[in-house]
């Protein structure tokens, strides 16, 4: 092939010159080590559609994108782990800086100080929010962070049972079951009392073999669990308390660290990251100091250069797969450094006071909708101890109501009928982005159509 591609700089003349230097007559010779029986031939060549010009590519991708309903046209009252929040424009501008975006893991710290410092700041802010001592520089997402926390807990306690609340995100449950299948420990569910964890059931489930108890904070249904009371149940146990927390709620809720959590994980998607159909988001992972050397994946540490100047490096690397191979604390190599950077920019812009205000707006909006629904005769299953999500009971099947909402430019809530064993239970989320008009419209449709 001699057609030149815009991403490939090598010309026919270059190829000739390079082959000469190498001392072979053709490129084919460089591939002669591939056994003939496995080689692609004309008959079994890979077949893909024709290469597209930039213009045709954008046309094709715009067509695909146009088939999706987006926040541009619809008001989202759907949360359930992924949220439509405000993100300052500068987040995207920083992420587009190619020095960050196109760099690899900072193996050469002297040429990667920008990334390393930004991740050090990320770790610091996650520790501030969670009340923990040490945070890593990100994992794939909140659910895989939870899986890693289970691996840490079972390995640190040398115990085999992980207890999780039924009020945990259903996909988080699935992911930790997969982790447990890998490392061969057991996971057991503790039931509900209303939309919160049944603490009596939890108390009687804790045994000598309990490695960890997992509580979501606020939980999957939006309800704010009493971590202090739960920590109390673990008093006589070696089991650790793992909290999966929505970091936005931590602007106003007491930090899990202060309430006794040993490991805090979650996803920073609410901090400036687009929903992007579920990823890339950004898992965070924070622990009490005694677990520092068992943390998975990259941690950035502060040091000095040979002139005594402050600098940053990846540290405690003897935990990691590229050094310790089969003795590593985890197999993770790539993490979510860029989305961690995005969340850092978000936190830097929104800041100490802004984050509290934003969290407060979420509470205000969600509780406004809840009160309006109740005033108009709807049954709200959740008690009032929720953050920005709560469960409302409809009288009609959810998919019917969802379709009516859709016709009115609203993406309705998530169906939690199975999780709560209640017919037609919808988990609604109301963020700071929802306007009074949108909220009133939702209420009026639900009270007419959902009644």
């Amino acid at each position: 092939m001699t057609k030149q591609h815009r991403y490939l700089p090598t010309t026919e003349q270059d190829r000739k010159d390079m082959l000469d230097t190498i001392g072979v007559s053709s490129i084919k010779e460089l591939f002669s080590d591939i056994p003939e029986s496995t080689r692609a031939t004309k008959e079994k060549a890979i077949e893909l559609e024709e290469a597209l010009s930039e213009q045709s590519l954008t046309k094709h991708m715009k067509e695909l994108a146009s088939k999706n309903t987006t926040t541009e046209t619809h008001a989202y009252f759907l949360g359930a782990g992924t949220y439509d929040h405000y993100s300052p424009s500068i987040v995207n501008h920083v992420l587009l800086r190619s020095e960050f975006m196109t760099a690899y893991t900072p193996y050469q710290p002297e040429a990667s100080q920008g990334e390393l410092q930004a991740l050090f700041e990320f770790q610091t802010m996650m520790c501030e929010l969670t009340g923990m001592d040490v945070a890593n520089s990100s994992l794939y997402d909140g659910f895989t962070s939870l899986g890693e926390a289970c691996n840490l807990a079972t390995s640190a306690t040398k115990k085999q049972d992980v207890l999780y609340s039924k009020a945990l995100h259903p996909q988080a449950k699935e992911v930790i079951q997969t982790y447990a299948y890998g490392m061969e420990y057991s996971v057991k569910e503790v039931g509900l009392n209303g939309t919160a964890t049944d603490l009596d059931a939890l108390k009687s489930s804790i045994t000598d073999e309990t490695a960890a108890v997992i509580i979501q904070y606020p939980n999957f249904f939006g309800t704010i669990e009493d971590l202090k009371e739960i920590k109390g149940l673990l008093e006589d146990s070696k089991g650790v308390l793992i909290v999966m927390a929505n970091p936005l709620a931590l602007a106003l809720l007491e930090s899990p660290g202060k309430l006794g959590a040993d490991i805090v994980v979650g996803d920073t998607q609410p901090f400036g990251l687009p929903m992007s159909y579920g990823g890339p988001h950004c898992g965070y992972f924070a622990v009490k100091k005694k677990y520092m050397r068992k943390v998975p994946s990259r941690i950035v540490g502060q040091t000095v250069d040979k002139d005594g100047k402050r600098g940053f490096v990846m540290t405690l690397q003897t935990r990691e797969q590229h050094i310790r191979r089969e003795k590593a604390t985890s197999n993770m190599s790539s993490n979510q450094a860029l989305t961690a950077l995005g969340s850092s920019v978000f936190l830097a812009a929104v800041g100490k006071v802004g984050l509290q205000k934003m969290a407060q707006q979420n509470i205000n909006h969600a509780h406004y909708v809840k009160k309006e629904l109740e005033n108009k005769g709807m049954t709200v299953i959740s008690e009032s101890n929720f953050f920005n999500e709560f469960v409302v009971k409809l009288k009609r099947p959810l998919n019917e109501v969802t379709n009516i909402l859709l016709d009115n430019q609203i993406i309705g809530g998530y169906d939690v009928s199975n999780e709560l064993n209640e017919e037609n239970a919808m988990l609604l989320c109301v963020t700071e982005k929802r306007t009074r008009e949108e909220m009133d419209k939702l209420v009026s449709i639900l009270t007419v159509e959902g009644k």
């Binding site: 056994p35 359930a80 992007s276 191979r325 009032s384 993406i411 009074r436």
Partner: protein, 487 residues
């Protein structure tokens, strides 16, 4: 590249400054005190910074100036495939139709997203020669783990789950391979490479047995060498009842030339952030889809995408599935970029990618051979290794060479890996670098080799031109400071 900007966010913060504008809201306040007991209300606000918008931008611009990306310069990091990340794909991933959609919104409102995923899966089937793809794994290591759990589920289904407990891994393998095997619950057996840098058929024959769950292999391997005995290797493992895993980190060498499917692999992962041009982001997000042969389909992570006529849907009912490895459907935004790349290249373009990547690697190797030890003489694929043993005798270590390269305006190659090569430099030039760039890099390495002879102290003192000089990594690990401490 060099900048004097050294402040942390927390050091430039001042109470009262803001860098945001939240939406206006006229909704009455609901006090948290009415909702939860006092001990669940935060006593001390998190000490986050307080900055104006320009301060935030200047901070991160300052930091970015101390960072090195592909657009800054040549990035020859072996096994990482630091090719150009097309800008148009960034535009596309930011279309609201891809970025501003919720993973749990009704499927009928996300048909374009599902179609993109379906099309990408079809393309990756073609490139890998496999029968089914899951886009769920977030990165290569997660793909490995998912793949090994599929091994496990397969052996369990055959009643051999309790006996087949060992995963064979060559000593040249990426560190993730043995680590992934452990978190999949396996024991690791290391296979020594032969003198040619490849998996020895005899050593393999001795290692396999009724306790073998499978073999993990990177092909071409981390030395950049194609495993020429792959057909026999596959046969040996299969005859012993094991399965073959393909670590796709080095797939950039074989696009359109061969497929893991043809070579006999049962499960593969690809690193879309390597071979398929999506940006590495300073460590992630990546995307590590896995592909399997027909007989392993039922064990794949759920949900899976299905197409009926022109309708796309997610199917959740797969009782033999290993389950979910990650939230939702993988790193969707990364997958949008990879799909855009594949559509920009086409089959011929991808083949050209591998041809040029291999040509470039062999060219660099040929230019550097007189100056550095080359432990393996065969032609390489997309990357190759040098050994700095000759320079070590002069008091200059590979680490010093790597640091000195930074002063020349390059990033350093992967160093001290693979572990089986002493003072290793692992170089992967990729197809997107022009010959002039390759020559400049070769000239720099040759100059450094000469300096190692004439002026070794100068090399061991590098780098001189970066934001910081050589950093003390030992103290950082001994007395870890991992969060900001005032004064």
């Amino acid at each position: 590249m060099t900048t004097t900007y050294d402040d942390l966010l927390f050091e430039i913060s001042k109470p009262g400054r803001i860098g945001y504008s939240l939406p206006e809201s006229s909704i009455d306040q609901t006090d948290l005190t009415e909702l939860v007991p006092d001990h669940l209300i935060r006593e001390e606000p998190a000490a986050l910074p307080e900055l104006s918008e320009l301060q935030v931008m200047r901070h991160y611009t300052g930091l970015s100036n101390k960072n090195f990306g592909i657009e800054t310069g040549f990035y020859p990091l072996g096994s990482c495939t630091m090719k150009y990340n097309p800008k148009i794909n960034e535009d596309i991933a930011r279309y609201p139709g891809f970025a501003q959609i919720h993973p749990l919104q009704p499927e009928k409102t996300a048909q374009g997203a599902l179609e993109m995923m379906y099309r990408l899966e079809e393309n990756l089937k073609e490139v890998t020669g496999m029968d089914a793809i899951s886009l769920q794994p977030a990165a290569g290591a997660q793909g490995e783990w998912a793949g090994l759990l599929i091994f496990k589920a397969y052996h369990h289904a055959n009643g051999e789950g309790d006996t087949r407990r060992k995963i064979l891994v060559p000593d040249s393998a990426h560190g993730t391979n043995p680590a992934s095997a452990i978190v999949a619950g396996y024991d690791v057996v290391e296979i020594k490479s032969n003198r040619e840098g490849r998996v020895g058929v005899e050593a393999l024959k001795e290692a396999v047995g009724p306790d073998t769950a499978g073999l993990m292999l990177t092909n071409p391997n981390t030395l950049g060498l194609f495993e020429v005995d792959i057909v026999e290797i596959a046969q040996i493992v299969h005859e012993a009842g094991g399965l073959l895993y393909y670590d796709g980190a080095n797939a950039n060498a074989i696009l359109g030339k061969s497929t893991p499917g043809e070579m006999g692999f049962d499960v593969v992962h690809l690193n879309l952030h390597k071979t398929f041009s999506t940006p590495h982001g300073g460590g992630g997000p990546g995307s590590g889809p896995i592909g399997v042969k027909e007989y392993l389909k039922d064990f794949m992570p759920a949900p899976r995408i299905e197409k009926e006529d022109d309708d796309y849907s997610l199917s959740y009912t797969h009782p033999q599935s290993i389950g979910r490895v990650k939230g939702y459907y993988g790193n969707f935004g990364v997958n949008v970029r990879a799909y855009s790349y594949i559509r920009s290249m086409g089959a011929e373009g991808l083949q050209q990618v591998s041809e040029d990547a291999v040509l470039h690697a062999n060219y660099l190797k040929a230019r550097l051979e007189p100056y550095y030890d080359t432990p393996y003489k065969d032609h390489c694929k997309h990357e190759f290794v040098l050994s700095g043993m000759r320079q070590k005798k002069l008091g200059v270590r590979t680490l010093d060479i790597a640091k000195r390269l930074l002063d020349y305006g390059f990033y350093a190659p992967t160093v001290y890996f693979p572990l089986i090569v002493e003072e290793c430099l692992m170089i992967e030039p990729t197809e997107t670098e022009a010959k002039e760039q390759l020559d400049a890099f070769a000239d720099a390495l040759i100059a450094i080799a000469k300096d190692a002879e004439d002026n070794p102290d100068m090399v061991t003192g590098a780098p001189y031109t970066k934001a910081v000089k050589r950093l003390d990594e030992v103290t950082a690990a001994r007395k870890p400071i991992v969060v900001y401490q005032k004064d």
